[in-house]
């Protein structure tokens, strides 16, 4: 498994312009383990603090999100992993009294810089939510919603985008003949894949997934995971999950959050086999949380 991935990495290296050694990752053990790997940093958080009013939800978060990898964020409820996810596309702007400190960059650009428009940022950093939230519209209109609000009017172009997105989300075969039907008539798992397709339709660079399978049955969960692995070829994915097996199965890197801090970050197989911190080990062994 790891070997295959490494070969893949080497193949990609030529295409990468801005590369950096994983040695720059703050947690030293990652550097030791994967010093041969070279990864492109897509998003980076530096000393991020986050407050809901007086309550500090995130403390000094430092993390790298690598290009075309799945980064999983795990930790018990209320540990701040979802809050952190939402700082990446400024979804927290919508919450009154929320305040963020430190720098969060996507492709080197600070997302909180004065010139950055939140709507424009969210076009580049898409999001899939915990509960499938299709619009009360037809399947077609759900997917076409994003391109339309960004100004695409051409019917043919919209049709092509819808087909491509549905194919990418592995939903095309199931819905191609019923695109005019309400999206609410789909099953939960199909709805969630529709939501993923809807995000892909605006061609984001990074896709944030906030427990995308936690409201689904095991079979649908399996399909979503399969889809994530597939999407990794083209997209950078940050995945928040409660499900540790899921993190172990699909992710390349894992960050462990606890009480607003990131306790440990590193390659997933390292985190799940030989974690540095006692708390990480206790959590992944199921001793708490």
């Amino acid at each position: 498994m790891i070997k295959l991935e490494n070969m893949e990495f080497n193949g990609q290296q030529q295409a990468q312009t801005k590369t950096m050694a994983a040695a720059a990752v703050p947690t030293p053990d990652v550097a030791v383990r994967s010093q041969k790997r070279e990864e492109t940093v897509r998003a980076e958080a530096k000393d991020v603090n986050f407050f809901y009013g007086d309550f500090q939800a995130l403390k000094n978060i430092n993390i790298h999100v690598f290009d075309r990898r799945i980064t999983a964020l795990i930790g018990p409820s209320g540990c701040g992993k979802s809050t952190f996810l939402r700082t990446l596309n400024r979804m927290n702007d919508l919450i009154e009294g929320a305040r963020v400190e430190g720098s969060i960059t996507i492709d080197g650009q600070d997302v909180n810089a004065p010139g950055v428009d939140a709507a424009d940022l969210r076009k580049r950093v898409g999001m899939v939510f915990q509960r499938p939230n299709p619009f009360p519209m037809s399947i077609f209109d759900n997917i076409a919603y994003g391109p339309r609000i960004h100004g695409e009017k051409n019917k043919k172009a919209l049709g092509e985008i819808v087909e491509r997105s549905l194919r990418q989300a592995a939903l095309w075969d199931e819905v191609k003949d019923v695109q005019k039907r309400s999206a609410l008539a789909l099953s939960g798992g199909q709805q969630q894949r529709l939501c993923i397709a809807r995000v892909l339709a605006v061609e984001p660079e990074v896709v944030l997934m906030d427990e995308p399978a936690s409201a689904l049955d095991p079979n649908s969960t399996y399909r979503i995971e399969e889809l994530m692995t597939e999407l990794k070829n083209d997209y950078t994915i940050v995945l928040v999950t409660h499900n540790m097996q899921q993190a172990a199965r699909v992710s390349d890197y894992t960050g462990f959050f606890l009480r607003g801090e990131m306790k440990e970050f590193g390659a997933t197989d390292k985190i799940f086999t030989t974690p540095e911190q006692k708390e990480t080990e206790d959590y992944i062994r199921g001793r708490f949380g």
Binding site: L94, R122, M127, F135, C195, V202
Partner: protein
């Protein structure tokens, strides 16, 4: 560890609790029947008196000093004019204000103050609005005793309820819908126009229609601003003087002749029919909404 302390078996008070249950049930049932019974009696009286006078000619005749010739054409047209204009004025302002308060406004003291005032304004008696309308629209703006003065006064009266009802409808839109839209890079206005308003449409319409229904039945504001009681023409524009159904009913009902009481009853039936139609529309829209979102 587990030394057993002898416990008394819990005393059974089931019989007593069941009796309380039955008493409460009977009380609720009696309350419901009282309300329904009163309504039925009222309707019975009105229908008995008025049904004989209700025909096409009644709708198409102007008032007359002879009861058998009197009709409600002027009042019906006046009411329709006032309500239509009231809707045109109050709905855009009320909905826009609600959107501002619910979707845009920050939580600060000023907005909390505005919110509190709107809630209080909804409880102000209509005659107070009427006096304001008299001073402002009839006298200051010089609209006189016109349809537009009446509609503006009615708009003031129903604005708070339109705003509050719309706010509630907007609040009922699941936040997941907003998040989905924002998450795709939609602006606030796009999200409101394409997702929030369509989802809240049924609720907003219900609020508007119920508010307008209230305005239809209001008499005090129109009397205060000087709507006429004996009119033998239909208004041709917003600046014409007018009368309205409740005023006409009041006028007829306060006459001594029995024949005019029957005319009043017939006019009440027409007013009730208009209200019933409006409320049915509100219910229909709410049901359709519920089906759409489920």
């Amino acid at each position: 560890m587990s030394t057993k302390t002898p416990t008394r078996p819990p005393q059974s008070n089931l019989a007593r609790r069941k009796r309380a249950e039955r008493v409460f049930y009977a009380l609720c049932l009696a309350a419901t029947f009282t309300a329904v019974l009163l309504l039925v009696l009222l309707l019975y009286g009105v229908i008995r008196d008025g049904i004989g006078r209700l025909n096409w000619e009644f709708l198409q005749s102007f008032p007359s000093r002879f009861a058998h010739r009197a009709g409600i054409k002027a009042a019906l047209y006046g009411t329709l004019w006032v309500i239509s204009l009231t809707g045109l004025i109050a709905v855009p302002i009320g909905v826009a204000a609600a959107i501002y308060l619910e979707e845009y406004a920050q939580k600060n003291r000023l907005n909390a103050f505005i919110q509190m005032n709107i809630a209080n304004l909804a409880g102000v008696p209509s005659v107070v609005y009427a006096l304001l309308g008299l001073a402002l629209f009839v006298r200051f703006f010089g609209f006189g005793r016109s349809v537009i003065a009446g509609a503006l006064t009615m708009s003031l009266l129903i604005l708070p309820t339109v705003i509050i009802a719309t706010q509630e409808a907007l609040r009922a839109v699941p936040s997941s819908l907003r998040e989905a839209s924002f998450g795709l890079g939609a602006t606030r206005w796009q999200t409101i126009r394409l997702q929030v308003l369509p989802a809240a449409f049924g609720g907003i319409m219900t609020g508007i229609i119920l508010s307008l229904s209230r305005a239809i039945g209001e008499t005090a504001p129109l009397i205060t601003i000087g709507a006429l009681t004996f009119v033998t023409f239909v208004p041709r524009g917003p600046m014409d003087s007018f009368t309205a159904l409740p005023i006409q009913i009041f006028n007829w009902a306060s006459r001594p002749q029995q024949a005019f009481h029957e005319v009043a009853a017939a006019a009440i039936l027409v007013l009730l029919a208009v209200l019933l139609v409006m409320n049915s529309i509100a219910i229909f829209l709410r049901q359709r909404q519920r089906r759409r979102l489920s």
